[in-house]
């Protein structure tokens, strides 16, 4: 049954890849959506069955076959559904389905052939993502991990006749490779240490060990995995590919580069929560990198002019939050934020897509403005998304972000808390800057119509757009069509209500999602049979996780409640302050922004150019490698040594073959003689020995 979840998108991929070019758009798009819908249905049923089990026993294993067996090394192709995987499955298939539907309208200007190619990639992505999520051991997860990387590459470079798109695709692929390398090494090390790659088996093995307070093998393994995660989930130092990935179609940015794939790193840490809780040193690294990324990306987001790039940096920043949560041991909070973020970030990306679509490919916010009236659905849904991410009370982002900040503070990381809160301020500011620049103020887009055509060649390619397509040439703008509007509305509803599964104790809720996810982050329970209410494992008690488990069991203490409420009020104030600043600077007094930029030009340049990190990498890593490769490896080692050796071997083989084939003269007498000599040699060998 679990295998069916990734199977349907995979079938969709096969059909669209093989015969998609002969299908009409309605058929190929409909097929892809149907595959996702069925997959979502199966996921819901599986999730339902999971809920029917007692909390401690919520694990469904399904082994398809033994994929590789060689001595001690066993790699069964096993899928496993537990609370964590179940939640992820719902997110991937549910939001994935909505984005597929949205895409049918967004991509309608493509040719039939390209349309089918797009949907085949999108389905393949979903299949691999589900393999990643459902994999019960590191190797199966790694199949998905690599598969989604491939699809990401294919989709970023979807418009492959555009140089910047193919460059971005390559950049994503190469940067991810760095992380994947670390992941592979980590996997080998994990197998060498535990003799298994199964997550539960590793967790059980680790649970027996004391936490590793000095640097050791657990810290190394977890750090290697984390390096892998920085690649996939765009964290410092490997975040640089994600903003460039916005070259892909906007729904792709929403699905892959915001809601699902980029969260794989966070998910992977959640999957290995027990392992990570035993490596406190790595946890510190994860938390610090997370908050640093959040802050850095937040500052860059302030100065970007491309609407999708703002959202991209916002994604990087929010992923930083999730890693912060993981790093302080608040695994459930991190996953909770992953889940709420999937709604509002997908919503905002799709909203930006609707804007771009209406403006025929314009992405520069300086050429937008005043779209509020023209695109009411887009505007209102986008506004909900922005309020959610800013952390306005009552919306989903508020609950999850607050949970993370509270856990950070409660686990004694007050400096990280300050930085995290500062990031929250930045988030509110840049998000509302985006809203004001795009939807408020004076329209600035009419004159930009010619440029828009050039900016987006895909739409340009479908040259019939002006004629047959009733967006009109620079005249009246049209809001999102049905297939785009419905996903927007549904995601907006999700962005509001998704948080209510995790209302904290301090607000009188019961934080059901954390209780629900808890078993996924604890060692397998078979050692301690489920005694209701008491599940504080000694191994985990040292991390924030332990404190949390206890909080669950006994209810939050009064002091905790007071603290949580204080922090909550602070962050609400911060969020409102951020919105206020944005309102002041970009809505009420637009000249202030320009004046500010003129006042500290270096600061503005620094942010606009993303802290020159790309340039730094280029100068310190790319160029040196290129130079040493050209001069040393290529001209020296490759041409000189390796080619020399290859040609030399070839020459040697041919030379000796020419001699040996002379013996093969065709004369039976010679053959018989050789046979006889051979026999004599064999006998002599025995007798002489």
């Amino acid at each position: 049954m679990l295998a069916l979840i990734p199977l349907f998108p995979f079938i969709g991929f096969i059909i669209n890849a093989l015969i998609g070019r002969r299908l009409s758009k309605a058929t190929s798009g409909g097929l892809a959506c149907l595959a996702m819908l069925v997959s979502f249905g199966v996921a819901v049923v599986a999730f339902w069955r999971l809920l029917g089990l007692p909390a401690e026993a919520r694990v469904i294993d399904e082994t398809l076959f033994t994929w590789i067996a060689s001595g001690r090394f066993q790699a069964p192709l096993t899928f496993r559904l537990d609370p964590l995987a179940g939640l992820m499955c719902l997110v991937v298939t549910g939001i994935g389905f909505l984005i597929h539907v949205y895409s049918t309208a967004y991509m309608h200007e493509e040719t039939d052939h390209e349309y089918a190619r797009y949907f085949s990639y999108l389905n393949l992505f979903a299949a691999f993502m589900l393999v990643l999520v459902l994999g019960a051991n590191l190797l199966v997860m790694f199949i998905g991990w690599e598969g989604v990387g491939l699809c990401s590459y294919l989709l970023i470079g979807y418009w492959f006749d555009k140089q910047s798109a193919t460059d971005a695709g390559k950049k994503a692929f190469v940067v991810n490779r760095v992380g994947d390398m670390a992941f592979i090494v980590g996997m080998c090390l994990a197998f060498a240490s535990f003799g298994t790659l199964d997550f539960r088996a590793i967790a059980a093995a680790v649970a027996a060990l004391p936490p590793e307070v000095t640097w050791g093998v657990l810290s190394t393994i977890t750090l290697l995995f984390f390096i892998g995660a920085t690649g996939k989930s765009a964290q410092i130092p490997l975040y640089i590919w994600l903003p460039d990935a916005m070259e892909g179609p906007t729904p792709v940015s929403a699905l892959i580069h915001a809601a699902t794939m980029v969260t794989a790193g966070v998910y992977m840490i959640g999957r290995n929560a027990v392992l990570y809780s035993h490596a406190p040193l790595t946890m510190e690294v994860v938390a610090v990198i997370g908050v640093a990324t959040a802050l850095l990306a937040g500052t860059i987001g302030l100065a970007q002019n491309d609407i999708k790039r703002v959202l991209a940096y916002s994604t990087v920043s929010q992923l930083g939050y999730m890693f912060l949560a993981m790093g302080v041991g608040a695994f459930a909070a991190g996953i909770f934020h992953l889940y709420t973020h999937a709604f509002f970030k997908a919503l905002m990306f799709l909203g930006s897509g609707a804007v771009i679509h209406a403006l025929h490919g314009e992405q520069d916010m300086r050429k937008m403005g005043g779209l509020r009236r023209a695109l009411p659905i887009t505007y209102w849904t986008f506004l909900i998304g922005a309020l959610a991410i800013a952390g306005v009370p009552g919306l989903s982002g508020f609950f999850s972000k607050d949970e993370i900040l509270f856990r950070t503070f409660a686990s004694g990381h007050s400096v990280l808390w300050v930085l995290g809160t500062a990031t929250a301020l930045l988030t509110a500011v840049y998000m509302f800057r985006l809203i004001y620049l795009t939807f408020h103020g004076k329209p600035r887009y009419e004159g930009a119509y010619e440029g828009a055509q050039e900016a987006h060649r895909a739409h340009d390619r479908a040259a019939h757009a002006q004629g047959t397509h009733n967006h009109g040439g620079g005249g009246v703008l049209h809001d999102a069509p049905m297939a785009m509007a419905i996903p927007l509305v549904l995601l907006a509803i999700g962005s509001v209500v998704a948080g209510y599964v995790g209302v904290p104790h301090a607000l009188g809720g019961s934080n059901r999602i954390e209780t629900f996810l808890e078993p996924s982050f604890s060692p397998p329970a078979h050692t301690a049979p489920a005694v209701a209410g008491t599940h504080a494992e000694p191994g985990v008690a040292l991390s924030g996780e332990g404190a949390h488990a206890e909080a669950d069991a006994h209810g939050a203490t009064h002091a905790d409640t007071a603290l949580e409420l204080t922090l909550m009020v602070t962050s609400v104030a911060i969020a409102l302050m951020g919105i206020g600043i944005a309102t002041l600077v970009w809505l009420k007094r637009p000249h202030v922004a320009a004046a500010l930029a003129a006042r500290v030009p270096w600061m503005h340049r620094l942010l606009l150019n993303k802290w020159y990190v790309d340039e730094l990498y280029d100068a310190t890593i790319v160029q040196p490698i290129k130079n040493s490769s050209t001069v040393g490896l290529w001209k020296g080692v490759d041409v000189g040594v390796i080619d020399g050796a290859v040609n030399g071997t070839g020459w040697l083989v041919r030379g000796s073959a020419a001699g040996l084939r002379l013996a093969q003269s065709g004369s039976v007498r010679i053959y018989a003689a050789a046979f006889f000599v051979g026999t004599v040699l064999v006998i002599a060998f025995y007798l002489v020995r």
Binding site: F65, T66, W67, I68, A69, S70, G71, T649, G650, V653, R654, S656, A657, A658, L660, R661, A663, Q664, G666, V668, I670, Y671, A672, A674, F675, V677, G678, T679, L681, V682, I683, F685, Y686, L687, R689
Partner: protein, 478 residues
């Protein structure tokens, strides 16, 4: 009595189908063509079913035929070889005007010999099986009587084959002289109790038996017949020889040397070590300079005999299982490659030179793709059968401490890729176009190629099931 017949049931079924084929041809009206191939297909499928039913029972028939899992596993391999050969044949028979009745009957008798070789537990019966097999294959090699090349190949094969049989028989006689029995288990028992250093005569006997086997598997320096016979024989017969005969000979080699002479492993292993290294190196090195695809595949099969020997030398259960798996992987890949060569030939043009493949990708994209898969599998590319086979054999060698054998094996595999890829390069990247006709192929050949393709991918992607079967089949062998 019943058990006796149960044990030989698969062999019996194929024998019957061979006889039916012959009789049917004799009685068919002049102009009519009976579906002779059908009898063979039915017989082989029946034998396969019987083998599956016998799985796990370890029946012994007449004291000298053992239907243990080992022989049943080999049965399945040679049945697959026979079945694929028959599926590929109709077109070739038509083209070459080969008498179909004889052709199919001889193929089936050869399969009988192969199955009997794997099941025999007595050296004399083994010898008989070897001769049943060999005689059938000698005739098949020269079945195109009008062709000078075919006759020459058959004659060379026959002369040298007789020569090697003599050595083998002499080895049997010497063994009998020392042990007083030709039963494998009695030989093993006698050799096991004498704990002093082995007698010189035993070693000579063993050496002579090894020579006999080495001839059949075309190991260096007893391989010289192979390129000539392989080139001269009809292409499908070549494929049949290169896979079925080799599988049967290896099965017997494994059984005799790892049961009867297992206690003398330390004595025979070093000698075979040298043979294996020579075989791997010579097969690949000389293969590189061949311009004829069949001859190239002949040398490739010599080289593969070397890899298979590695599994035998290792002498562990894992090594044996790896050898069995490799035999299966090698059989489907090689048969597929030979079949592509065979179906591309026309009456005037054999289509067996390497340059004949130039631009095949354009004229016959499907066949070019199939050929590529089979050749890459032979070269040992993942995720194909050949890769997994090599991987199991070499990892078994390393586990047992034969690191150098594995190193030689891997290096020669790398060299061998050169000549496999040469054909692939010809097909896809050559600017020239071979101006040879490319005939249409029959439905049965398409079916056979599809089966081979599926097998190559199945064994490559999901090898676990097959390797587990191989492991169980060697478990109860001795």
């Amino acid at each position: 009595m019943l058990t006796d017949f149960q044990a030989i049931m698969p062999i019996l079924i194929v024998t019957l189908s061979a006889i039916v084929t012959m009789v049917a041809e004799a009685f068919q009206p002049k102009q009519e063509r009976a579906p002779l191939a059908g009898f063979g297909v039915i017989g082989l499928i029946g034998a396969a079913a019987a083998s599956v039913l016998l799985w796990g029972y370890d029946k012994t028939g007449f004291g000298v035929v053992r239907a243990d899992n080992f022989s049943l596993f080999v049965n399945l391999i040679v049945i697959a070889v026979g079945l694929l050969t028959i599926l590929f044949s109709p077109q070739v028979i038509e083209r070459e005007r080969i008498p179909p009745g004889e052709y199919y009957a001889l193929t089936l008798f050869a399969v009988v010999g192969m199955m009997l070789m794997a099941a025999a537990t007595d050296l004399l019966l083994l010898f008989l099986a070897l001769e049943v097999l060999s005689l059938a294959v000698y005739v098949l090699t020269g079945i195109r009587r009008a062709q000078f090349q075919s006759a020459e190949a058959a004659f060379k094969y026959f002369l040298l084959g007789a020569f090697s049989s003599a050595f083998f028989l002499y080895g049997v006689a010497l063994t009998y002289a020392i042990v007083g029995s030709t039963r494998l288990e009695e030989i093993a028992a006698t050799l096991a109790v004498s704990d002093q250093a082995p007698d010189g005569l035993v070693l000579v006997a063993m050496g002579l038996l090894a020579v006999g086997f080495a001839f059949k598997i075309s190991a260096v320096p007893f391989h010289m017949w192979a390129p000539d016979a392989y080139q001269g024989a009809p292409t499908l017969v070549t494929g049949f020889m290169a896979t079925g005969v080799k599988a049967a000979a290896f099965a017997a080699f494994l059984r005799v040397f790892l049961s009867s002479f297992h206690t003398l492993h330390d004595s025979w292993a070093p000698m075979l070590w040298l043979v294996a290294v020579a075989t791997m190196i010579l097969g690949t090195v000389v293969g590189v300079v061949q311009a004829n695809a069949k001859r190239m595949l002949a040398y490739s099969s010599v080289a593969h005999a070397g890899y298979l020997l590695v599994g035998l030398i290792v002498g562990t259960r894992v090594g044996e299982a790896a050898t069995l798996f490799y035999l299966a992987a090698y059989a489907v890949s090689t048969l597929g490659a030979f079949a592509v060569v065979a179906v591309l030939a026309t009456e005037e043009h054999p289509h067996d030179r390497v340059q004949d493949f130039a631009g095949l990708w354009e004229s016959r994209p499907g066949l070019a793709a199939l050929m590529t898969v089979f050749l890459l599998s032979l070269g040992g590319f993942p995720p194909l059968a050949g890769f997994v086979g090599k991987w199991y054999i070499f990892s078994a060698a390393i586990d047992a401490g034969y690191v150098w054998l594995a190193i030689v094996g891997v290096l020669t595999s790398v060299i061998s890729v050169f000549f496999y890829l040469r054909i692939v390069v010809m097909m896809y990247m050559s600017d020239e176009r071979a101006l040879v006709p490319t005939p249409a192929i029959t439905r049965s050949a398409v079916a056979g190629l599809t089966l081979a393709l599926v097998a190559v991918f199945y064994l490559g992607l999901l090898p676990t099931h097959a390797i587990e079967l191989a492991l169980t089949s060697v478990q109860g062998m001795f």
